[in-house]
Symmetry: D2
Subunit: 290 residues, 4 copies
Amino acid sequence: MVRLGANQYGKAEVRVVHVSRGAGPEGSDLVRDWNVSSSLSGDLAAAHLTGDNSRVLPTDTQKNTVYGLAKKLGGIEPEAFALELAAHYTGGQEAISRARITIQEYPWIRVSGTGHSFTRSGQYTRTVTVIDDAGLGRSVVGGVGDLIVLNTAGSQFWGFARDEYTTLEDAYDRMLATVVSARWRFRQPDADWGAAFQAAKAALIEAFAQTESYSLQQTLYAMGSAIVTAVPQICEVRLALPNKHHFLVDLAPFGLANENEVYYAADRPYGLIEGTVLADDAPDAGIAWS
Amino acid sequence: MVRLGANQYGKAEVRVVHVSRGAGPEGSDLVRDWNVSSSLSGDLAAAHLTGDNSRVLPTDTQKNTVYGLAKKLGGIEPEAFALELAAHYTGGQEAISRARITIQEYPWIRVSGTGHSFTRSGQYTRTVTVIDDAGLGRSVVGGVGDLIVLNTAGSQFWGFARDEYTTLEDAYDRMLATVVSARWRFRQPDADWGAAFQAAKAALIEAFAQTESYSLQQTLYAMGSAIVTAVPQICEVRLALPNKHHFLVDLAPFGLANENEVYYAADRPYGLIEGTVLADDAPDAGIAWS
Amino acid sequence: MVRLGANQYGKAEVRVVHVSRGAGPEGSDLVRDWNVSSSLSGDLAAAHLTGDNSRVLPTDTQKNTVYGLAKKLGGIEPEAFALELAAHYTGGQEAISRARITIQEYPWIRVSGTGHSFTRSGQYTRTVTVIDDAGLGRSVVGGVGDLIVLNTAGSQFWGFARDEYTTLEDAYDRMLATVVSARWRFRQPDADWGAAFQAAKAALIEAFAQTESYSLQQTLYAMGSAIVTAVPQICEVRLALPNKHHFLVDLAPFGLANENEVYYAADRPYGLIEGTVLADDAPDAGIAWS
Amino acid sequence: MVRLGANQYGKAEVRVVHVSRGAGPEGSDLVRDWNVSSSLSGDLAAAHLTGDNSRVLPTDTQKNTVYGLAKKLGGIEPEAFALELAAHYTGGQEAISRARITIQEYPWIRVSGTGHSFTRSGQYTRTVTVIDDAGLGRSVVGGVGDLIVLNTAGSQFWGFARDEYTTLEDAYDRMLATVVSARWRFRQPDADWGAAFQAAKAALIEAFAQTESYSLQQTLYAMGSAIVTAVPQICEVRLALPNKHHFLVDLAPFGLANENEVYYAADRPYGLIEGTVLADDAPDAGIAWS
């Protein structure tokens, strides 16, 4: 005999672009470019077991809701939008006890001197995850992804453990590059979201640049610490940092010396360093990471 | 003040291909084509906090270990390989208390009548996740991914909840397509892995094909039930099923009727249905899904 | 002063799925799953120079036309569909003197014993390019893509040219893998398209499997020759074969011998071998490859 | 009987990163991050026909050559590097009569105030194609790719041709977005490459922003004209512009008005506008686009 366990359903990757006409500097337009996903859970056993859909709000409706709320709420911060969208479901659908909203925001840069022309930044993606649980409260996790950073100096890796499969040599001056994926938990579902994002991103990049690194683990800890220190509303940071290996090419067979000039940028495999940094007084995470 | 929380590190996406010479039918070669990732955790605070790497076995070593064990163990089942690789770390490195191994296996089909020529199947990917924790034991999760299935009939969706954003109409005969991502938890870290995989995959496809579906949720439950029922060594199945929408095209503006013939296959957004099916007597999952 | 040169416009990647109800074996459904692109050229200078769109049939209309013709023509072979779609434009729009149609077809496999359940093959993609020029006639190029093949033996590479950057050693027994992208030109815009495709694909795979290879160039020539020989309606084959390198891993540092068992499957860089094979009496290609 | 036609071979996607130590502003490092592909053609029939590789310089050697020349040439402009790399083959290998080199350059931005920390721009990719033919001379084509631009106003599309499949309505105020892929041909294989690239990119963006557009065709022509006018060394521009449709969402079913605020960003299908703009006195293109 079998039984149904945890389940959720929703609409993934609703691509919505909102333009706030004339709301930007010098009367320019403001653009919010989002990829929104919603996922609902609650008393949904009947749909699975008997085909009774009476408690299933269609995922098509969830798509429509993103567009409708985008109109009603205007070009607000993505964390604020996600909180409203989540509350719409937990407050409006009896069967739904939890809503999980994720947003990826793609930043655009206004073309200087124009009012309605933009280029996509491409430098990073801003991320948001909001969970609203009817019984357990609300959580907000912000973050940044797709941010590629590189240090051409100031990175070492030596004195590591060795076993019979170890051939790596000590490195006292290596390249260090990673694609930052960082997510930060807010203490409260209330903050100056835009300012917090900018401060966290700046602290992260500054820590990457300033850390004389003995390992990517150490750099990770420095990044997380910098964010928690710089933004008091943030109590926890989780980072996933692929080590985008840049190997010094051996040019000796061609009679050439390679004095830290020429590197091979490898694709796979890659190191993957994952870690968490918390404020000493961070409250329990509760549902935030579920 | 800040502190270090949970952390792990490893080598991701080690691409290893193993050939068992002459071990196949009619003296043909056997091919195992894997993408292996390992991630280790334990007493690794010093690396993060002080740059002391003395407990950090390099990710480069982890890469080497995959190749070394591939030689020593030969072309065994991926679940068995992952168990050995995990045990290598928890048994051999004092600082490491947990190892997490994932493998994606890409199936190849022998060209009929040949001994060493193959085409890549492309129909699915086989997946494995093994966790070996020094204190909490071992878990094995198998699975299948990238398996795209389609029912051209036998699917409905009606009688659903409605709100002010609902415009979807009842459907009594729709296309149903999904990319199956299923993961199944074994009761014990010991089974006839190859036979279990084939039986689970066959049960899943059969359930998809035979279910007169009132929702993708119902189909999900049928798939999970079929696996748990068909393979007694499996006690839990988790499925993530994107609803690959195939919308009937409105041909009326062109004076044409569309009698369930012409569909638009949409990319985004897509429904995403996630759920769990368990045996009534499934033991606690413990670390299996962490 | 500047002037307008060659130009074309169209709708790319129209995803259409056509179901022929009950037309398959044992009354099963037949599925055609296509990605169709159309591109038109002709007397379109005004649109570029003055913003006069009176000769521009919208790309939205081109999308609609794919769906409308899918209904009218039913589940025919993609080469036949592309010919009809192209003729629709060159015959119906005065300004349009040339239409270029490309189709990618994704094959599906019926689940045994069912009438309307399918799994996507994933083993290859079938491709078609048709050009219909009002003055220069019509051409049909078929092909196959995404077909990954591997020889675990029977491949060598030695006796090659050397210069000061050469470090590669002779190989007398290496792995050979490639992702086949082959396109074949038909002598006439008329053939038994389905049979020709199957025969060409079979000949290509057979040639790959049977050639004792001294280079991927030699294998390319064998593949092209096999197709031209097996399918008299085809007079020219163009192949692009990435050499998906599988490097033997050096296990000596771990005290292990690697007797052609353990390989590293590399991503980048890769060799890329491109070549053309023609029938001795192949007519001039004309517009076929433009 | 069959025969060999046109053929070429090479190494694709050699990922090389070059660091010029202390050569940047304030003694900072300079980074060149490239993806280099080389392809050679000439008297290579024997390799295809008889397995005689004596004229085949291995693709592995081509990889090595990229690294060796990166050392020898230092962090020069990619057009200059491609010219040197091409000449290395046509000048050094008797069998090779033509070399085709392509480079994609990924731009990095120095972290303000640091000497060796960078973030990847992500805003665009710089592209280069050089062909060096022993008999026909040399050509240089520069370009930009992956540059996403958006106009929130100033775009129209009306007065277009109509047929029985046309349902599109006139648009007098639409969003216009595209991913620019532009390639520009230089008159001579000699220019101030860096300045020309920056000037061409700036002209392109300015033209996109300033054109009151009646079609993407018109915008394409404006972009090409602006480049040819702004950079006299460039005599021809070829553009491929996907129309990244942003559809105004119909909010009427929810009782909401959509006053050009809320858009759905579609993936597929997309319009694809391709065109060429030339200087009146552009010399014949010769081999440049082959």
